[in-house]
Amino acid sequence: MKRQWGMVIDLDRCTGCEACVAACHAENNIATVGDDQAAKGRSMHWIRVERYWEGEFPDVRLRYQPVFCQQCADAPCESVCPVYATYHNPEGLNAQVYNRCVGTRYCGNACPYNVRFFNFFNPVWDKPLNLQFNPDVSVRSVGIMEKCTFCIQRIKTAEIKALAEKRELKDGEFNPACVQSCPANAMVFGDLDDPQSEVARLAQSNRATKLLEAVGTEPNVICLRSVS
């Protein structure tokens, strides 16, 4: 069955707590680069919560914008990769093949969202983080790019389970780590091609926008945002 995985984020619900960031690190074995490297701008957060202040003091308003790979339908990162390390998979995901990557970092330049991360050094984890690796996710070595996969390991696990039980995947049967951890229920994940799914229903909202839509990347992440 053809699917198009997608996500809806309700920005009006987001409190900027960054539980999604912590959950993503734990789920995907993302390296903690340390203070020095972070100061150099090399921190790796597959999902980050951007803060934007609107208005002039004292009449200011704080906006949160979680940003991660938008799994673009027309992704600039895919066409520029010389070795097919990033490609569009049949479920509409922007897949990254770590073994294939040679580290030209061209995809990182082409990505308008800056959500692709480069392993400048071999990854390290401060104790006790080194004891909590997720066995379902490969650890990336020095010199390659990595990014949000929509927790493809969870997708595959659920698909295989459904296949073994000879049934269809149910909407909301599983979620990526960020969605699962969101205390405000601001994120919804699912199949955008399935008109019955929660995510497809929310995507029709009149508050729906897409990040940097004008660049023409056709993101599969939809933001709900009331215009004030």
Binding site: S79, V80, C81, P82, A110
Partner: protein
Amino acid sequence: MPVRSVEQLNEDILRPLVRTSWRYYLAVGILGSIVLAAVAAFLYQVYSGVGVSGLNEPVFWGFYITNFVFWIGISHAGTLISAILRLTHAEWRRPVTRCAEAITVFALMIGAAFPIIHLGRPYLFFWLLPYPSERGIWPNFHSPLIWDAFAITTYLTGSTIFLYLPTIPDFALLRDKAHGWRRRLYRSLSLGWTGTPRQWHRLEMAMRIMAVVILPVAVSVHTIVSWDFAMPPVPMWHSTAFGPYFVAGAIFSGIAALIIAMAFLRKAFHLEEYLTPFHFDKLGKLLLLMSLIWGYFIVAERLTIWYGNDSPEMAVYWSSSQGRFTHLFWFMVFCNLLVPFSILSIKHFRTITGTVIASTTVVIGMWIERFLIIVPSLERKYLPYTWGSYRPSWVEITITAGTFAAMALLYMLFSKFVPIISIWEMKLGMRQEAQSPLPIPVETRLPQVVAETNIPASVS
């Protein structure tokens, strides 16, 4: 004293191959150690990771890609100028072609190394080449980097042939004059050249074909290099003008490099009779023209962006004209436009010294230009939250210094094994002038004859 006999010609041009001063060894020693330092820095980077450079998120490309574009640009003068002058039968080209073509080959070799130096996993660079592998995966032909790989290997092959073909008769001459291991070396390099009419005819045909073929290749190479930037939707990269803009810049910096190399050879090997003020005057005019074209492009590019006032592009625009890169930007304009224009547009200043000064600022300015194209855009990409800044580390600076040393070193070694001026082409030119029944127009004459005016040349 003008060059008038074949013996003197042989003596003058072969002198550097026979006699080597202590200064040469000293220069080779210094340059060699800089190159070794650069190699060590690169190995350190391979061992530790690209993190030892100043690159970061979101500035994934910095000094290495600047050097790549810069050196590929430098490579453009040699072959292009040589091919154009050959096709137009400009007689004054004869002492210039060889040293110009050599610049192309060496600059390309250095430039082509950078996409590999900058890789996260440089030992896997061959994955960019199409070869039958057990993985059954071809490279992605949609990627401009693959176009690059093809364009550069084609150009390197073509310009190496273009340099090698007209050197064959000179290798044969050296073979006949040399002894011992040099004789064996030149025998294999001269490919059995004996100077039969058939061989001459074939050489002439091959050169004519190569001169025509290499021109579109040269133009396409830098166009494709520009497309590395123009293809993805990055503010101030994504521009239709980039192809011609880069080609113009490449020829501009290449001519400057050629003038510097010629002035250096003239002094070091006492070739005053061969590389004359006439050559520098001609190339100076060409440099002036390219400077104006370059200025036209930068105005055309920046004016349209400023007028269009698209906010992501304006963020980059302001960072280079009023922000962090202001000084660098205006210094580039000073180097690439102000200095060449004020020196080269005045005939009185278009001397050897004048053109060398202008060329030096142009080479510096064009390096900065490449840097200013690459880095400010990456620092200011769309979402302000992710804006970053870039500062090179000692590793990148060492490797950059190493490339300039490598260029000089390769050129110096080349001049010890190959006559830096094409001997047979000079002789042919001298004979043609002596035998010509009609007066040859001043523009196409060999320079020393211009200086002598009306005295018929005697050739043995």
